[in-house]
Symmetry: C2
Subunit: 338 residues, 2 copies
DNA sequence: TTGAAAGCGCTAACAG
DNA sequence: CTGTTAGCGCTTTCAA
């Protein structure tokens, strides 16, 4: 293991000088700088980030807490966040809670243990006091979506009321549906509640009565499948299904297929998240796009500036979703490229 | 921030004693131990892992380098590995290379910077000298699959020759296919080569001539789609497609759908990986199961024992894949639960 | 059974 | 412009 001391000795300067060069702190003769840089190269020296973190009292690690990796939306989000974080010299400590409070607690502690300098939180199982605890320990936080509680910290949400409204209006107005099933997420969840609001808004705007049925899933593919299967088996009739995420929509579509129900001619389906697989489903899946890219970029940028300027005020952002219409909800749906 | 010193002061002992209690080093009076433990609890003290790592010269971080998060197989594998690592007190530093050599290099350096104590490597863009460099720096390594080169370090592979053979034999013997398209992975890739070997073996075993066509994808859904589309548009006829992974199989299936080709009655499709979505496709996707769970558990356990016993010899493991038959390759395919 | 103190590799006053 | 030195929080000899 080759250290800053070795470099200093070899270069005939002090460790302080090497440190200055390393961190571009300036205040060193240009020749000294080049000389030191050459020695660093020659020795193939790599600063030890652990030591740096300890010394500075903070790391270049950003924690990213996600509820699951099972739902394709999250790997896609992880990817975006990782990319932007790397661009800015930060590394991501991925914490997959598997929707389990125990794991959330494990990871919250782990974040503290690892001196992460900030955390991007996306979990149902985190509450305001958890965030407060992190902030108290000097870890800046930002929540993404699904935050089902009030808190004074930075937050990014997507306007799920609007998202649901777009989807349901599409079903009612464009597709003349009048018997809609809404497979929601867990009842206590803010995004589920918001989407229900949007659902209701769209119904009100319809100007004519529309039959509805609401059931509750857990955002897993299986729950979309089981809910739909149960409805069919119970003889419940419907002409469309709006699912609170794509995973459940895929499950719902599967159930329809199994019972020989044609999508979209007999039942139209719209999902939420616009995962990349949506355009490869059969039929291609209409979905509300949450703009993962925007969420990811915004989350990292906001967090970094919180880290760099500790006195900055937290901000709240709300993004606008877009409806992407494909074949699962309309006969004239888009092609693979949409 | 509350440190070991605070605990020591509050407990009226030295930091050395607190450290002993913390790490169950023994050699302390039982009463002292309980007393210190109480103070720790009372103060809600958490040892700083950064400091611990620096002091010990190693962290409890395991790096996990994956080629992509786009292909659902990898999030599923990540999840397994993370789970087992956590059970053993290790945390995972997820490195997603997006199949890009630049990113691989970035992460290899980052692993060194972060003093990870071991690395699980799954990437086409890592070679023996990269592994040697890590090992030289005291980072134990284990490769998973896809290692397209020889190296003396620990490795886990799946018998892809067998996997391909199972799939193709199924198509030939069970389904009487005699015009098979094989959508392979990148040409230079070991797993692709092995699968080709298995493909050939199955053909030889058939005992009668079978027409074949081989094309090369990149494991992305789009490449399965494009390859299949091109074949169809070129008027190439075939009665079955074997894809080197499920993502491409989903793309291939999509292309068939678009051209009104019925799966499985006109064309049978088998994928590889057995991702969880396979049983929700329409039709459900037959696939070769790589046993992610076994791979993950084995990788972590092997790595941990390498870390703990530096003089232990590296080992090579080869796992056996299993064919899971569903509806995409047979009329009498399995149900959702298979 | 315990404590004092050196040291892990780096940063950042402070002094020169 | 550069060097000295005191930490960052923890582990671990070595003595007591």
């Amino acid at each position: 293991m080759i250290t800053i001391k070795d470099v200093a000795k070899e270069a005939g300067v002090s460790v302080a000088t090497v440190s200055r060069v390393l961190n571009n702190k300036g205040g060193a003769k240009p020749e000294t700088i080049t000389h030191v840089e050459n020695v660093i190269k020659k020795l193939n020296y790599k600063p030890n980030k652990i030591a740096k973190s300890l010394s500075e009292g903070s790391s270049n690690l950003i924690a990213l807490l996600v509820p699951t990796l099972n739902n394709p939306f999250f790997p896609e989000l992880v990817r975006e966040i990782e990319k932007v974080a790397n661009e800015n010299g930060y590394n991501v400590y991925l914490c997959n809670s598997d929707d389990d409070r125990m794991k959330v607690e494990y990871y919250l502690e782990s974040m503290i243990d690892h001196y992460v300098s900030g955390a991007i939180i996306n979990s149902l199982h985190v509450d305001a006091s958890d965030l407060a605890e992190l902030e108290k320990r000097g870890i800046r936080t930002i929540t993404i979506d699904r935050a089902n509680f009030e808190h004074p910290y930075s937050a990014i949400t997507v306007d799920h009321t609007l998202g649901a409204q777009l989807a349901v209006t599409h079903l009612i107005r464009d597709e003349k549906c009048n018997n809609i099933v809404f497979i929601s997420g867990p009842k206590n969840e803010k995004s589920a509640i918001d989407r229900l609001t949007g659902f209701t808004l769209a119904l009100n705007e319809a100007g004519h009565p529309v039959k509805t049925h609401i059931c509750y899933g857990d955002f897993g593919t299986a729950s979309g499948y089981e809910n739909t299967k149960a409805l069919i088996q119970n003889g419940h009739s419907f002409d469309s299904i709006f699912c609170a995420n794509d995973a459940m929509a895929i499950g719902a579509m599967r159930a329809c297929h199994e019972f020989g129900i044609k999508v979209p001619s007999e039942v139209k389906i719209v999902g939420y998240d616009n995962i990349s697989l949506a355009s490869y489903m059969y039929p291609t899946l209409s979905s509300v796009d949450q703009c993962k890219e925007d969420i990811g970029r915004l989350a990292v940028n906001e967090l970094i500036q919180l880290i760099k300027n500790p006195k900055n005020k937290q901000k709240q952002y709300e993004l606008e979703p877009k409806l992407v219409i494909r074949n699962s909800s309309t006969i004239n749906g888009g092609s693979i490229n949409e």
